[in-house]
């Protein structure tokens, strides 16, 4: 009996404490990303590295066209730059006078993820490391979570993808994580298997995890080092320094920066999902 009421009160206390200062005080880590769009060349190395690391299936042209591809990390390409057009209308109708804008998009690991509360079986939840985790063998395939995701970064296995890996290609599969079967939802996990391995290594060496112990596959391969990954709760980490430098805080749906011209922003912040990927605006010489 005490546990029921106790749980309700504790839950409320955690929730309201969590809302203060955008803080998430009971988390052990708060893994986040920062992507500098000015450095991103759109080369797609990150996406292919993710395929290699995470046992992603290739689906072929027809299924890709039916939006059934499994690219956990996709690099979007836009040609319009509305803020630049206010300064100098150089993107006139006839010629392309600037390059394109590239946007690597993956699961934003929202702290107030809209996909988490709607899972009928609780297969997706927020870990103590701040990641939005997907437990593959609990998923029953209702696809409600993908429906709720405003970023459209959840991918459903409509097919059994065994023929994506004809022998001996199946020998390349990474044993540190599942090969998902039909009927299971999947998405970017910020290379959780690497986090697990790094934690084991740190434990073996009798020390705490340090900044740089964990590198996501996309971050490690990016030739321009546009992607940064780390623990926001570690004040010495590069990632928390860059979030601080661009005055972007967690837990709010509208940033109140002292200098609103700083480049850091979050996508769809106004939806109040509290994403953990910081994007740095691309820069153009006029």
């Amino acid at each position: 009996m005490p546990s029921l009421l106790g749980n309700i009160f504790k839950g409320w206390a955690d929730y309201s404490k969590g809302n203060e200062e955008g803080g998430h005080h009971d988390y052990e880590h708060m893994y986040a990303l920062a992507i500098d769009l000015d450095l991103c060349t759109g080369c797609n190395a990150c996406s292919t590295a993710c395929y290699a690391e995470n046992n992603l299936a290739t689906v072929g042209e027809d299924k890709f066209g039916a939006r059934q591809a499994m690219h956990w990390l996709r690099v979007e390409r836009y040609f319009d730059e509305p803020d630049m057009d206010k300064i100098e209308e150089t993107n006139d109708t006839d010629t392309q006078s600037r390059g394109a804008s590239f946007l690597p998009m993956m699961c934003q690991h929202c702290n107030a993820a809209p996909c988490e509360p709607v899972c009928p079986v609780g297969a997706t939840y927020h870990t103590v490391d701040g990641l939005n985790a997907q437990v593959y063998n609990r998923c029953i395939g209702s696809r409600y979570c993908a429906n709720n995701c405003p970023f459209r970064v959840r991918y459903f296995n409509f097919y059994d993808n065994a023929d994506s890996w004809p022998a001996p290609m199946d020998q390349q599969l990474n044993p540190d994580l599942s090969v998902r079967s039909k009927g299971v939802m999947e998405k970017c996990s910020m290379c959780l298997q690497r986090t697990r391995a790094a934690r084991d290594t740190a434990k073996r060496e009798g020390r705490e995890l340090q900044d740089g112990d964990i590198q996501t596959a996309c971050q490690q391969t990016c030739p321009t080092s546009a992607i940064m990954f780390g623990d926001l709760l570690d004040e010495t980490s590069a990632i928390s320094k860059i979030w601080k430098r661009h005055q972007v805080k967690l837990g709010v749906y509208k940033q109140d920066k002292e200098n609103p011209e700083l480049r850091g922003y979050r996508i769809f912040e106004e939806l109040n999902v509290d994403t953990k990927v910081l994007y740095l605006e691309r820069v153009r010489e006029v």
Partner: protein, 217 residues
């Protein structure tokens, strides 16, 4: 407008809702109480007493199949009669996820000198494999589904290496938590259910992590 009919009693809406609410509350609260009894009280796994100091020892059992293996190895002889430490052969347990079947070189380390190929038919089989470069194809007995991550190293750290009251010589007590007393069997036999419930109960009683992603990959 209609002719006289006995007037029906109007459905007692408000009373029904209140009654349903009371019944619902009773179900929820009753459930809480029952659950309390199961978890808060004496745990069924404490009955066997401490074999690993500081740990609650699991007592679930399982009657495993007799799985034939390419070499009819005897744990009873090596671990039992000869008293060889588990970690001597299953050395990877202290530094990896898997305990590992020992490489054939480990067996040959002794068996080129004692109980050699001339003396024992199973060793003769093994020696032939060794000389022809063939790996024995062991049939996995304690198997986990591919979506489960289990790290022997972390469990040994907790119960054996970082456990101040535990000696390395007694490592078989730690191994027996999940593998049973291997000194009783020939080749491996599954002696614990190794289901998620089994793992979870031990975690609950020994302060193990409850986060899904710690074990599900």
């Amino acid at each position: 407008m209609s002719p006289d009919r006995p007037k029906r009693r109007p459905f007692p809406w408000i009373r029904s809702i209140m009654a349903a609410g009371v019944v619902g509350a009773l179900i929820v609260l009753g459930g809480q109480l029952l659950e309390q009894e199961r978890v808060g009280g004496e745990s069924p796994v404490t009955e066997a007493g401490p074999r690993v100091p500081g740990a609650v020892f699991p007592t679930d059992t399982f009657v495993g199949k007799d799985v034939p293996q390419p070499i009819n190895y005897s744990h009873k002889l090596h671990a039992g009669d000869l008293g060889i430490n588990c970690l001597y052969c299953h050395t990877y347990a202290r530094r990896s996820k898997v305990a590992g079947i020992p490489p054939t070189s480990k067996c040959m380390g002794c068996h080129t000198i004692v109980a050699t190929a001339d003396e024992k038919p199973e060793i003769e089989k093994l020696t032939l494999m060794w000389e022809s470069g063939q790996s024995p194809a062991w049939n996995k007995v304690n198997d986990m589904p591919d979506f489960v991550h289990f790290s022997h190293e972390r469990h040994l750290q907790k119960f054996l290496f970082d456990n101040p009251d535990m000696n390395i010589e007694d490592s078989r007590e730690v191994c027996a938590m999940c593998h049973g007393d291997m000194v009783e069997v020939g080749v491996a036999k599954k002696m614990r259910p190794l289901t998620m419930g089994f793992c979870n109960t031990c975690h609950e009683n020994n302060d193990g992590p409850a986060d899904c992603t710690r074990c599900h990959k």
